[in-house]
Structures are given as C-alpha cells and as structure tokens.
C-alpha cells in the first residue's frame, strides 16, 4: 500500500520509521517491520541475538497465518461464501490477541527494533501460542469443509484466470501467487535470512496457476507456518532480545537492499544513508506482487461478475413476469416496470437514464 512513507522517512530518524512500516501492509505488520529493520541491520552490520531472531520467526509466521486467513476468507466471501470468511476471522482473532499480548497492538505492532525486538515474550505467551498451533489443524479442517470442498467455490475458481509460470516470472510476481503457478521460489528456502535455515518445512506449490491454486497454496502455507512456529517454540533459546545498538542510530553512509518473504510476496526495502541519523534516500517497499495479486483476483472474478449480472437479470425478468403484472393490474392496468425502457415508455414516465439497462 502506498502512503508516501518514503517521503516521511526522509524527515524521521531510523527508529521513527518503524511505526510507519506497520501501515504498509496492516494485515502483516510484523513482517513489514521485519523487512525494514532487516535492511537497516544489514547496513549497520548489527548482529541480532538468537532469541530475538526466534521471536521474530514466531511473530512473523503468526503474521503470515493471519494474513493468509484474511486472504482465503475474504476470497471466499468475494465469490459468494460469507460463512468461510467468518470462520477464518474467528481464528485470526486469536493471533491478534497474541500480538496484543506481545506488542500492545493488534494490527500495527511496531514490535521490532533495529537490533532486536521491543520486549521479551510476556508470561503465558508461549503456552497460548502453542495451544493455538495445536488447534490450527482442526480449524484448517473446517476451512477445507466450508470453502475448499464446496462445489460452488470450486466451480467459480477452478480454471479461472490461469497464469503460466513464464508469465508469472516475467511479470515479477512473487509469493503465493508465483508459487501457485508452480514456480519454486521462496526466499526462506532460496536465500535463508534470519534463522530460517534451521527449520524443517516445505514450500507448497500449485500445478495449474488458476484462482483455486492461488487460494489453496495459502491454506497449505498456513500448515507449514504452523510447523515452523512449533519448531521455533520448542527450540526457543534464552538470552538477550536486543543486540548492541547505541541509542542514537547512525549508520555509515551507503545503501542497502534487503528482502524478506512476506505473506504476499517479496518485501524489499532499499535504504540510502548519508551518514546522519536520518535516511536520505527513500525506502521502497516492493509490494508490487500484492497489487498484481489483487488484480488477478479481480480478473478471476470476471466470470463471477457475469454470473451476478445474469442472476440479477433473471430476478428482474421474474419480477417483470410475475410481480409487475399483478402490481400493474392493481395500478390500473399499466405496467410500471421501472427498470425497463420499453415499459416506461408505455407507462408514459420519463426515467433518468441511469435506471435503464
């Protein structure tokens, strides 16, 4: 999402930019924080303590699950199944509560700091988080019953807006959209940042690259994220949560580009420093694929819109056939269909053009 934070960053210090990165993608604020601090840490060559890295992995993957729950649920709602949406949001709420515990905010956590995280995991977080991870498979079972297995949903998504692997790569798509087309490119595997090389997980891939694959890859990714969180919780080391960073952050002059795998694709941050406490160059959050993903979603919905129009027309037709004659007879024998130009002529009323089809 573009909010001109590149310009805002020019007049703020490095730490002050963190709250703004939340708002780049407020469905996965933790991952946006991570992408930014990752770049500044790379520029300043700060070593992040292990515990902080594990905490980052835990909250980052929770964020990914939360974001995918919105993606899948809202997609189901968009193609006509509001029930699935409500079920995914029910479980997202639990993640939001966990974020509230750890950072004090639900959507805009501003939890990461340059060199670590803002605070240690609060008491009871690990238990509550592992309880959620234990519960997640049953929830995914429910989504599969409600959304994935639903024939209407499948009918409206399978074979719609097929995106070939070549086209996806050419258009610089990344994240689940790219992987749904069968391209194995996940930065957590291809270029392991942070401590991702220590976890055992798979990269789910689609086969056809249609709307259904783009949906189902996300469901599978949630399972893998849960697997990562489980391993991170089990191996959570003790130690400090913030590296050796001075209070005034003053990176050397230079520039850096760092990328992480966000829930919607690659999140790249480009930071240019002139050696002062404020970034000179602008940071560019490359959420390009997000825009494309939405665009693809809408082109996928094209078929659906046609269907909607068809059903609307059907209702109008029925109204014309059944309701209006009765109504019309009662009104004195004249047909009063307000939606149809032919009838309004016969009724002798001039309707504004916007009512005509």
């Amino acid at each position: 999402m573009h909010r001109g934070i590149e310009k805002l960053a020019e007049s703020r210090t490095y730490t002050q930019v963190i709250p703004y990165t939340d708002r780049l993608d407020y469905l996965a604020g933790m991952l946006m924080n991570w992408g930014y601090v990752c770049a500044v840490e790379k520029l300043m060559e700060i070593e992040v303590p292990e515990r902080a890295e594990y905490i980052r992995v835990i909250v980052g993957e929770l964020s990914r699950i939360a974001s995918h729950l919105v993606a899948t649920g809202a997609y189901a709602a968009d193609v006509g199944g509001l029930t699935g949406f409500i079920y995914t949001f029910r479980d997202r709420e639990e993640i939001m509560d966990l974020f509230e515990m750890v950072s004090g905010a639900r959507l805009t956590p501003s939890y990461m700091r340059i060199g670590g995280v803002a605070g240690d995991l609060p008491e009871g977080f690990v238990e509550r988080c592992s309880k959620f991870i234990d519960y997640l498979p049953t929830a995914i079972e429910e989504y599969n019953g409600l959304i994935t297995g639903n024939e209407i949903f499948q009918h409206r998504t399978k074979g719609v807006a097929i995106l070939s692997a070549e086209k996806a790569i050419d258009m610089s798509l990344s994240g689940p959209v790219l992987r749904a087309s069968g391209v194995n490119y996940d930065l957590r595997k291809a270029r392991p940042y942070s401590v991702y090389d220590r976890f055992d997980f798979e990269v789910p891939l689609g086969t056809k690259g249609d709307c259904f694959d783009r949906y189902y890859v996300r469901i599978l990714e949630m399972e893998q994220s849960a697997k990562i969180i489980r391993q991170a919780l089990d191996n959570l080391p003790e130690g400090p949560i913030k590296g050796k960073v001075s209070k005034v952050i003053k990176p050397p002059a230079g520039e850096v580009y760092a990328e992480i795998e966000s829930s919607k694709g690659i999140m790249g941050t480009y930071v240019v420093s002139d050696g002062s406490t404020k970034p000179t160059g602008f940071i560019s959050a490359d959420l390009h694929s997000l825009i494309w993903a939405t665009w693809m979603k809408w082109s996928g919905a094209g078929k659906l819109l046609m269907w909607w129009q068809f059903s609307a027309a059907l209702i109008l037709y029925l109204e014309k056939l059944i309701v209006n004659p009765i109504w019309g007879v009662r009104q004195g024998g004249e047909s009063l269909c307000k939606y149809c130009r032919r009838h309004k002529k016969s009724a002798g009323i001039r309707w504004p053009d916007r009512y005509s089809y």
């Binding site: 610089s172 798509l173 391209v183 194995n184 230079g254 580009y257 690659i266 790249g268 480009y270 160059g281």
Partner: protein, 147 residues
C-alpha cells in the same frame, strides 16, 4: 547451482563495454547509453530472469535508477545502478525484457519524474493525472500539512 559471481559478470561485460564498473559495495554500475543491450545480456546470458525491484533515488546532483535482479529458485541477487542526468532524466524502459517493470517504471515516473523511453503506457500511477511536480524529488515543496 547458482549463477556466476558478480565480479566475473563484470569482467566479461567489460571486454565489450569498457564503461561497466563494479562498485566497492558489489554493485554493477552500467552506462546509460546501451543499457537495454546490457540488461538483455544480463537476462539471457547470465540467467537473471527475475526483476524484484526497480526504483530510483535522488542525490540532488543526479538520479540513480536501481534494478535488483535475481534468479528464480536461487540465492543470487544482483544490484544494478544507472546514473541519470538530473536535468534531462531519460532512461530506456525495461518492459520488453522484464514485463514486471511496467508498473514500477510508472511509479518512478510518477514520483521522481524520470522518463522511460519506449514504455508502452507511461502515465502517473499513484497521483492524480493533473498533479504538478514529482513528490519524491528532494527539492519538492508542498504547502500545507502540519509542518
């Protein structure tokens, strides 16, 4: 399997194009005049098939257009920079090489006012069509707001 190291790429490119440079931070600096030819080589010869980021920075004396390239499924990342004259900011468009450049070039055009030649659809992408100026230029002034 990974792609060739950056210094080897630069050495090979230097044979034909003497203006290609390798900066201290490991970034390839390309000349502006035969940029498309060089980029085409980077894609076809060295397999850098994925444009992850295209952006630009204002250094007050000149602009710099930055391309971040990588190879699908591998860990390589190449940082390519091109210096652009600030008074006449024109760069060849990369849309014919990487299709994903289309919106990113529009963004750079919108916010920094760098013109991309042979771009199929160079319009403003974020701001209104009748907006004056390019906000991410560092000398851009805007009246209003809280400050």
């Amino acid at each position: 399997m990974t792609g060739k190291p950056i210094n080897e790429i630069v050495e090979e490119l230097k044979l034909n194009y003497p203006l290609v440079e390798l900066s201290e931070a490991g970034q390839i600096i390309l000349p502006e005049n035969n940029l498309r030819e060089l980029m085409g080589q980077l894609k076809d010869k060295y397999g850098l098939n994925f444009l992850t980021n295209l952006t630009a920075t204002d250094y007050l004396e000149y602009f710099e257009v930055i391309y971040n390239l990588s190879i699908i499924g591998q860990s390589d990342m190449v940082h390519v920079k091109v210096k652009v004259d600030r008074n006449n900011p024109v760069v060849p468009s990369m849309v014919s090489i990487w299709g994903g450049a289309i919106w990113q070039e529009r963004e750079v055009y919108d916010l920094l006012g760098i013109t991309f030649t042979d771009h199929p659809d160079l319009r403003r992408i974020l701001l209104a069509d009748d907006w004056e100026g390019h906000p991410l230029r560092r000398d851009y002034q805007w009246e209003g707001g809280r400050d």
